[in-house]
Amino acid sequence: MAIIQSNQQIAQGIWRMAISGAPTGRAGQFFMLRVPGAVNLLLGRPISICQSDAGTGETTFVYQTVGRGTAQFATLKPGQEIDAQGPYGNGFSLKEGHTVIIGGGIGTAPLLQLAKELRVGDPDRRIDVYLGFREESYLENAFELYADSVTVKRGGFVTGDVDFSLNAQYYACGPAPMLRAVANAAEKANATLFLSLEKHMACGVGACLGCTCQTNGGRKRICKDGPVFDYREVRDAI
């Protein structure tokens, strides 16, 4: 059982929670978080690793309160136990060279650990980050630790600002309309793009088939075969 180290609101409806005692994971992986004993809130909720520190053993999540489960997370206090099953999922595969990261809203969360791993992997590569928020922004300062540039847009998609014709790989996470826009732009420019997808999950490990999507490599489970996919594979699923 993991222990909550901190749990604070960082923007309207957005919380950051740090836990210890869970195995550390890689960028793009997620945990199924659940308050132990809560038969009522039966299933775990998939929440991405926002920061994973192998040194301290702490994992940080950033989550938005949208329903019963995440609202319950927001009531948890440091010292309380939380059941963190994981890390699950494939995670981002780290490519070399110039990298462009595109996040929308809470989809920004898993990209921070990605930026960190990319920077640690190669201190010299160029990393450009584009973040879009409907209203209040968050996490942009944290990105500045790892990125060469951070562009933040409030009140709209940041997608329009991104140049997809660079000799770079692109990573994106965010709401479905944003992912579709990014995929369209990448297709036109024939760019390399990885998307992190979301779907309602029950098991998180690939056993229930609650989260499968059609890919051009057949049906895949977002929790187990994803959540990160090459955008070409999942054009029909977003």
């Binding site: 039966l42 309602h200 029950a202 998180g204 056993a207 088939l209 609650g210 059609q214």
Partner: protein, 302 residues
């Protein structure tokens, strides 16, 4: 193992304990094998198969409800032949009894599926005539005594494996369906499959599921499932396997006291992957503290 107080025989198959992973909640065992010692389970019922395989339903497929969940997977599966060729041997290697769960859209599918499964090294064929998430066949066959008996008789005539018929809690007259299956030659019965339910997204003003209705499982349905297992176990003489919302050893004991020789656990594995192992440990502890030489002594005492 023969002297373990948890061991039992189900349709002539030796199980090391009465805890079986429920169909559709455990894949074919691969996934949980990565995170659990699945060799400790009594049995594994694999994902429901159909003759030709299926991509399942579109749209939202799982949705949480108070103490339960709705699913509308719609029998996504790779088909019987794929199972026979690629999954059965892996399941056997895991250790627990191997149960193949067979669904279908029409009689011919069931019978051809049964024939193909004759070529696989499995222990029990679980005949799923109770899936609420497919349009034709599936649950329809399990709703009435006559159709349930008919498909059971025909599958029994073809199958070289013992046949356990999985009953639907949505059946009009469950007890009559159960008796009819027994008369048609079923070697065992398992119940319940999911209960037909519905969810509405108030914000979007629409049904959550493309199929409108979906199957309810989890602790919420336990009292209903327990009642049905009690009714059926008192009406038939073949073994009954009970399931529906089991979350703890205490819950498993309820089903066994109500007449179930073994239990299956589904939804709770999602919430807590070690739920089944905890139940096994709990049952062993119960036997020790009650001084039972075999747990089967309590089956049907209520």
């Amino acid at each position: 193992m023969p002297s373990s107080p948890l061991c039992l025989s189900l349709c002539g198959v030796a199980l090391q304990n009465p805890v079986i992973a429920a169909s559709g909640t455990f894949g074919f065992g691969h996934e949980y094998a990565e995170i659990l010692d699945v060799s400790r389970l009594g049995g594994i019922s694999g994902k429901g198969l159909t003759l030709h395989g299926s991509a399942g339903n579109k749209g939202v497929r799982v949705y949480e409800t108070p103490a339960g969940m709705l699913n509308s997977i719609g029998m996504e599966n790779p088909g019987v032949q794929h199972f026979v060729d690629r999954e059965a041997a892996f399941m056997r290697a895991l250790g627990p009894a191997v149960i193949a769960n067979l669904g279908g859209h029409c009689e011919e599918d069931y019978l051809e599926g049964t024939r193909l499964l004759n070529g696989a090294d499995i222990d029990i064929l679980e005949l799923n005539i109770s899936c609420p998430n497919v349009k034709a066949g599936g649950m329809a066959l399990g709703m009435l005594p006559d159709t349930a008996a008919d498909i059971t008789r025909k599958v029994k005539a073809v199958s070289r494996h013992p046949v356990m018929v999985k009953l639907s809690p949505n059946a009009s007259e469950l007890v009559r369906v159960a008796r009819a299956c027994q008369e048609a030659g079923a070697d065992a019965l398992s119940l319940v499959n999911t209960i037909l339910g519905m969810a509405i997204d108030v914000k979007e003003k629409c049904a959550v599921f493309d199929n409108i209705y979906a199957g309810l499982s989890g602790p919420a349905i336990l009292p209903i499932a327990l009642r049905m297992v009690h009714q059926v176990a008192h009406a038939v003489s073949i073994p009954v396997v009970g399931l529906g919302g089991i979350a703890s050893a205490e819950d498993a004991l309820k089903f066994m006291m109500a007449g179930a020789r073994a239990v299956q656990i589904g939804t709770m594995s999602f919430a807590n992957p070690s739920a089944m192992l905890e139940v096994i440990d709990g049952l062993a502890g119960y036997c020790a503290s009650e001084g039972l030489s075999n747990l089967q002594e309590i089956v049907g005492i209520i």
